[in-house]
């Protein structure tokens, strides 16, 4: 796959994950989701902010070496940056590329915004939301029924 000059603003990685088409300005949140400051393995993270994009106008890109994202992290990215795509790179080649689709349930990714919700008390349970609308995304807390349409402030 021929790399364009624009993509080369970030060094190609041998193995790892490229998160592309991130809504412009949200790369730092994506870094927080993937835990970029607490990686304990041989893994370099590179970030490009405000990159020209045909689809989005402007976008951010994050590349993480030697790491594939857990489904929970993918779900969290899907909530805050639904246009993002995730490519798994092995031996410099894109082995798998997909958009971040939301499953029907989102577990353990967000705190319920309702402070009085039982999931925000000291109980041995994880938050759990049903995806009750997809465009734009609305989640409903399975426990307290609160609808959520803003996700950034509530990421776990």
């Amino acid at each position: 796959m021929a790399a364009t000059a624009r993509e080369l603003k970030l060094t190609p990685i041998k193995n790892g994950t490229v998160i592309d088409h991130i809504t412009n300005g949200l790369a730092l949140e994506v870094l927080r989701i993937i835990g970029a400051t607490t990686l304990d393995k041989d893994s370099t993270v590179s970030v490009a902010l405000h990159v020209r994009s045909n689809k989005l106008g402007w976008k951010d890109i994050v590349k993480v070496e030697n790491m594939e994202l857990s489904p929970r992290k993918v779900n969290a990215i899907a909530l805050i940056a639904p246009t993002a795509t995730i490519s798994i790179i092995r031996e410099f080649k894109v082995r798998e590329k997909r958009s971040v689709d939301l499953p029907e349930k989102i577990v353990g990714v967000l705190h319920c915004p309702n402070r009085n919700c039982i999931t925000n008390q000291a109980e041995p349970i994880e938050s759990e939301f049903d995806v009750t609308q997809r465009r734009p995304v609305i989640l409903t807390c399975v426990y307290c029924d609160r609808e959520v349409d803003e996700f950034l402030p509530y990421l776990a």
Partner: protein, 312 residues
């Protein structure tokens, strides 16, 4: 579909047909609730009352319902005397209770507590109010009161008055009224208006929803005036509570232009929202409403624990 073995967490757990079946069974339970007939349908059953928040009517009517059906109760009436004070989670408390009882009735100050309890318990759980969330058995007895007064639930014009923001009874009731094609008139101080989310849901169900802050105008052509208490415990800020408390009161003059058959309802306890002079008018339906709690809860417990009425 049978309610046997099922949880009742939200009124949305029930279809219109299931609600109608519970109300029909509740009508048959009235002589048993009054003590003129005797039932043994829960004879071998133990029902746990897990009340983590103060309650008089709900707990006593549930206990009465169990005992009128020949069952027995074990009760947590004050969470401060349980191991939760030692830091035991609700999850573990319920898990333990579910091994002592055949069903659990729970009231809790946190929204979602009843759903958690249902997941922690392998016995049926009935929600008797979770925070500002759901209170489905109250809704069923509210519907039973309206049905008894009007013979039908279809097409009633119901004014919901008071705390429509924190009042858990109105959220459940409004949903049920929408199921039966009622017309809902919202009348509240602006700071206690029905949350947008709740209103959107009602409109999405096809309910006719309007607002009328002027109580006199609102009751003029209404069938039911449903009054709620402004609950001090739901306010984080006492100054907000004081601003709102006492801004509305139903007395004979408010009801002067009402239809003769207007039914005034209230989940009780009242805190000055309805003047005592209304008690002696034909409009007062709230004491009948409080009584109907027993046959409605009997019908539910019977359906959930014993599979419902056997035969006619």
């Amino acid at each position: 579909m049978s309610l046997h073995g099922r949880d009742l967490i939200s009124i949305r757990d029930l279809s219109r047909e299931e609600i109608e079946a519970v109300l029909a069974a509740a009508r048959k339970m009235i002589p048993y609730a009054e003590g003129s007939k005797v039932s043994h349908s829960l004879e071998d059953k133990v029902v746990a009352m897990a009340f983590f928040e103060p309650s008089t009517r709900t707990r006593l009517s549930f206990e009465s319902a169990v005992q009128r059906l020949g069952g027995s109760c074990i009760t947590i009436a004050d969470a401060s005397v349980t191991s939760m004070r030692k830091g035991e989670s609700l999850h573990d408390t319920i898990r333990m209770l579910s091994s002592y009882a055949d069903a659990i009735v729970i009231r809790h100050p946190n929204e979602g507590a009843a759903r958690l309890a249902a997941r922690a318990s392998d016995r049926p759980v009935l929600n008797a109010g979770d925070g500002a969330g759901q209170h489905p058995t109250q809704t069923l007895l509210d519907l039973a009161t309206m049905q008894e007064a009007f013979g039908t639930l279809s097409g009633l014009k119901v004014v919901l008055l008071g705390d429509l923001k924190y009042g858990r009874t109105v959220h459940s009731l409004a949903h049920a009224l929408a199921l039966f094609g009622g017309e809902i008139v919202l009348s509240s101080p602006p700071s206690l208006a029905l949350p947008d989310q709740a209103r959107r849901r009602l409109e999405h169900m096809g309910a006719k929803v309007s607002e009328q802050p002027d109580i006199r105008k609102a009751v003029r052509d209404a069938d039911v005036l449903y009054v709620t208490r402004i609950q001090k415990e739901r306010f984080g800020d006492e100054s907000e509570y004081r601003k709102v408390a006492g801004t509305y009161r139903i007395d004979a003059s408010v009801l002067a232009d009402a239809k003769p058959r207007l039914a005034v309802m209230h989940p009780l306890p009242r805190a000055g929202e309805i003047a005592p002079e209304v008690d002696d008018t034909p409009h007062a339906a709230y004491f009948r409403q409080a009584f109907l709690a027993v046959p409605v809860r009997m019908a539910l417990l019977d359906a959930i624990l014993a599979g419902g009425p056997k035969g006619g």
